[in-house]
């Protein structure tokens, strides 16, 4: 087994190779990556190196190592990670894995050994508590469809001019190695012209989903503006219910989307109260659980109302509905229109504010490695990405398991169109705890 490792930049070509196939530097073969089984983000470790090749060569190697470590510190101070890496592989047949470095230094000793053309140094560095591989583009799957997969803003399976309307896609992680959840990148591109006004985008991640279903209880008609729903709701696919001071169960709660025995499920929906200033008391429930009552003013927009503490899935795998129970806080009577109610899994999730009103986007990117989201817009200079804030712990695809992503969004004027659709690409860097 030939340990092949060194320092590089941007997971690219070697800047300093420690490998024994290079005559300037030789690891003493005692290096074993630290494997810290906790949530520590950085680990500190020592690598003992033997430099060979004469004084000039040794001086040059030391300079290269120290310059690289300085660079790592400078990038880290500037907030840029994944720039300077320790790379390595245990066998020539393997792919390289990388661990980000945020700084380090060399301790020198045995200079008097230079007489034989060698010097021993110890490289002390701080690196990420994991190793990651090269980014892998992951293929998508959904039912028996073939690529490209359009993601619609509804899930009725209805055939349209651009394909069936589904809001989910399964990510094929069979090519994803590693033992830790992967650093995942998702790119979203508007396929339907109206989507360029995307306002708030929610992405949910389910692991080991048992089915692809993520049905909404109700979903709007093409082009429907929920703000105007009161005038035109008749015959359209949303629910209008009259509320008063008595708790009312919305009929037909959405089933937990492709639920598993371990997932937690959120509850989302789009609501239009006739009296937006009146607070509503609500809670969610399943057959075995109900959440404490919350009092909120239901905004005329896409809302995230909470999550179940455990999977509402029976041991037989059947997805139970999550029911919204609601009343007016002051006992008054009003109607509440509800649409796009769904219970997506929340093994991971992000909510991204894509664009402010007046701007259009041309792509949105969620970068799990850097914990950033950004978008590009034709309104901005070409190639410019604007960072956007997001809520949520992020999304990390899990190798060796079934991974599904679910999408829902509204437009930046808070309108909501079931016929909107986007296309996505997903890539990931596999992660390992140790080499």
């Amino acid at each position: 087994m030939a340990l092949d490792m060194g320092l590089c930049i941007d997971s690219g070509s070697s800047i300093v190779s420690f490998t024994d196939t290079v005559d300037s530097i030789v690891p003493d073969k005692s290096y074993l990556p630290v494997s810290v089984e906790d949530d520590r983000e950085w680990v500190r470790e020592e690598i003992r190196l033997v430099l060979v090749g004469g004084l000039a060569n040794i001086r040059d190697t030391i300079s290269k190592i120290e310059r690289t470590l300085n660079l790592a510190r400078e990038y880290y101070d500037a907030g840029e990670l994944q720039v300077v890496n320790l790379y390595g592989k245990l066998d020539a047949a393997e792919s390289y894995y990388y661990s980000d470095i945020r700084g380090g230094y060399l301790t020198r000793h045995d200079y008097d050994m230079l007489s034989d053309g060698k010097a021993s140094v110890t490289l002390i560095l701080e690196r990420r508590n994991y190793w990651y591989g090269a980014s892998v583009s992951l293929s998508l799957a959904r039912n028996a469809e073939v690529a490209p997969f359009e993601i619609s803003n509804c899930n009725d399976g209805a055939s349209t001019g651009h394909g069936a309307r589904y809001n989910w896609v399964q990510v094929d992680t069979s090519s994803l190695a590693g033992d830790l959840p992967a650093l995942t990148e998702i790119n979203i591109n508007p396929a339907d012209p109206s989507v360029i006004n995307m306002g708030r985008l929610m992405i949910f991640h389910g692991v080991d989903a048992l089915s692809g279903s993520s049905s909404y209880t109700s979903e709007g008609d093409p082009g429907m503006q929920i703000g105007g729903m009161g005038a035109s709701y008749s015959g359209q696919n949303h629910i209008r219910n009259t509320l008063n001071g008595t708790y009312y169960e919305f009929p037909g709660g959405p089933p937990a989307c492709g639920g598993t025995m371990t997932s937690r499920f959120g509850f989302i929906g789009r609501f239009a109260p006739t009296k937006p200033s009146v607070a509503l008391d609500y809670y969610l429930k399943t057959s075995a659980w109900s959440m404490p009552v919350k009092r909120v003013v239901f905004a005329n927009q896409l809302m995230f109302l909470g999550a179940t503490p455990a999977s509402p899935v029976s041991s037989g795998g059947a997805a139970e509905p999550v029911i919204l129970v609601v009343k007016t806080a002051d006992g008054s009577t009003q109607t509440l229109d509800a649409d796009f109610m769904a219970a997506p899994p929340m093994d991971g999730w992000v909510i991204i504010d894509v664009m402010s009103s007046g701007y259009n986007f041309s792509s949105v990117r969620y970068d799990g490695a850097k914990q950033q989201s950004s978008c590009a817009s034709a309104s901005f200079a070409a190639g410019t990405n604007f960072y956007r804030g997001f809520e949520g712990p992020g999304i990390s695809l899990v190798p060796g398991r079934t991974n599904r992503l679910y999408f829902v969004w509204d437009l930046n004027n808070r309108a909501f169109d079931a016929d909107d659709y986007v296309t996505i690409t997903v890539s990931a860097r596999p992660r390992r705890r140790t080499l």
Binding site: E41, D77, A78, G79, A307, Q372, G389, P393
Partner: protein, 517 residues
């Protein structure tokens, strides 16, 4: 997975944070009064990214446990530790709206509020009500401007690095966060008295001298209390002066004798110092200690000067000969007896009083007026207790509300308060001891009644807890409250110790060291 989100100060969306930050809650706490109380968030990352955190003061912050919100509030203090340098900025010492209560030998007064709207637009209104003796109105005004100029923005303060931090090459920051409840301490509560008994129709009014001659040594106006008791705080009168009276115009409220004239000791007294009066007639408040005027009874407002009668230097008050007040008559004392004015008239007056308002209604009013970040108040019951609502502005809304919560529900228990995720203040009666949803065993782990460990994202503060196996049966506890039942006054969470309750009566080290303003 525990994660933290910071938001724009206007709550509109999640903030774009500097790259490469590791944000880790180190401590979260909740209290039965106010809900989310304090949080310490440690931030590690690149030097320049970490330094940008000093811009996060007053930004909303939410700590999530998976999909559940566990703690919410705002960034109150940021301390950056960069090698040997340790710099902190805090909202604690910010004041962008200032007024001065002043006094000197000539009397006392209070300036208007002076506000720096640029600062309050960023951080919210944060008031300072400062009392300063031995200064006059002019000096107070200058002092007010000086305070505002100095404290309108946070002042970075260099602290001494700990021995451990000294020499460190890492740049880290600690965000010290507070729950929204604490922002009620940013504004002073001012609730004005109400006009309880009054005749203030100045149309066609004239004046009546007081203390210019024997014939007007003292003036008296009878008043009649309506169907409810009145908790009088003072009287507003139209007062002017002629010349330069150097004494005081005295006011007293008196019971009346059978002839309708003042008798006995005054119910309440007040005064205004002559030199402080501007001269031309103007509505002037004369305050006295709060007194109760009983429903349906008659009293007399008595006006006289503290010095001798002086025909050149005296006071005058507004009266109206239209005789529109039906609750009593005005009389003058001529040195021998009370007589009607030559042209009969009524004194123009307004007895202002401390309005008696249900304590829960007062809480809601305080939140509406002074809870700038709170969106609503949800009262789960009405207290059935009425209480004076007057606030003179020397107490913050937080203290005023805390005093009202303690009153509790009539015949019941105190009220607790909780600021919800939507920043609504929920006010509810402390649960009965029969409702015990939590338990604590010898392993010191807080659990639900179903014996499931309490998770971050659950809120046990303000609930009862049963101590399991804590006190052996052999201990005689017959003369104590049930020691196995403890009320959870607060809860603190740390990554290594989890959720730890603080029971009522227990004093935390933080409370021992806390300095209250």
């Amino acid at each position: 997975m525990i994660h933290t989100t910071l938001y724009e100060r206007d709550f509109s969306k999640a903030l774009v944070l500097p790259h490469g930050l590791n944000i880790r809650p180190e401590m979260l706490s909740w209290h039965a009064i106010g809900g989310c109380d304090a949080a310490e968030i440690r931030i590690e990352g690149g030097k320049y990214s970490v330094w940008e955190m000093v811009e996060m003061l007053r930004c909303p912050l939410t700590v999530w446990n998976g999909a559940a919100k566990a703690w919410w509030g705002y960034v109150n203090r940021v301390e950056v530790m960069d090698g040997n340098l340790r710099i902190g900025v805090s909202l604690d010492d910010v004041a962008n709206r200032v007024r001065i209560v002043y006094s000197d030998i000539a009397g006392s007064g209070v300036t208007d509020w002076l506000e720096d709207t640029a600062s309050s637009a960023v951080y919210g209104v944060k008031e300072w009500h400062i009392s300063q003796m031995d200064i006059n109105a002019t000096t107070a005004s200058s002092l007010r401007a000086a305070y505002l100029s100095q404290y309108k923005y946070p002042i970075p303060v260099r602290n001494i690095a700990t021995r451990q931090a000294r020499g460190s090459k890492k740049t880290t920051a600690t965000l010290t966060c507070r729950g929204w409840w604490n922002t009620l301490d940013w504004r002073y509560s001012i609730v004005t008295p109400v006009a309880a008994i009054y005749y203030d129709n100045a149309t066609g009014s004239t004046t009546q001298a007081v203390g210019s001659a024997e014939a007007n040594t003292v003036l008296m106006q009878q008043i009649t209390v309506g169907a409810s008791n009145v908790y009088a705080l003072g009287v507003k009168l139209l007062i002017g002066k002629v010349g330069s009276p150097e004494d005081e115009l005295m006011i007293g409220l008196y019971e009346l004798d059978k002839d309708g004239n003042p008798e006995g000791d005054s119910v309440a007294t007040g005064s205004v110092y002559g030199p402080l009066l501007a001269g031309p007639i103007a509505w002037t408040d004369l305050w006295y200690s709060e007194c109760q005027l009983r429903a349906g009874r008659k009293y007399g407002i008595r006006l006289g000067r503290s010095g001798d009668v002086d025909a050149s230097n005296y006071y005058f008050v507004g009266v109206n000969a239209a005789l529109g007040y039906s609750g009593g008559v005005m009389r003058l004392y001529n040195g021998e007896e009370w007589v009607a004015r030559s042209t009969d008239a009524d004194l123009l007056f307004s007895v202002f009083a401390n309005a008696q308002v249900a304590s829960t209604t007062q809480i809601a009013s305080q939140v509406t007026a002074f809870g700038q970040f709170l969106t609503a108040t949800d009262l789960e019951s009405t207290s059935g207790i009425t209480q004076g609502s007057y606030q003179d502005g020397s107490t913050t809304a937080l203290r005023a509300i805390e005093d009202l919560l303690v009153l509790g529900k009539s015949g019941g228990r105190r009220y607790l308060a909780d600021v919800t995720e939507e920043r609504r203040l929920r006010v509810y009666e402390e649960p009965a001891v029969s409702n015990v949803p939590y338990r604590l065993g010898a392993d010191d782990e807080l659990r639900t009644a179903l014996n499931v460990p309490v998770q971050l994202g659950e809120f046990p503060a303000g609930s009862w807890c049963k101590l399991m196996e804590a006190i052996p049966d052999s201990v005689d506890v017959s003369r104590m409250a049930d020691p196995s039942l403890q009320f959870i006054e607060a809860v603190e969470w740390r990554p290594d110790s989890g959720m730890k309750p603080v029971f009522r009566g227990a004093v935390t080290p933080e409370e021992m060291l806390r300095v209250r303003r």
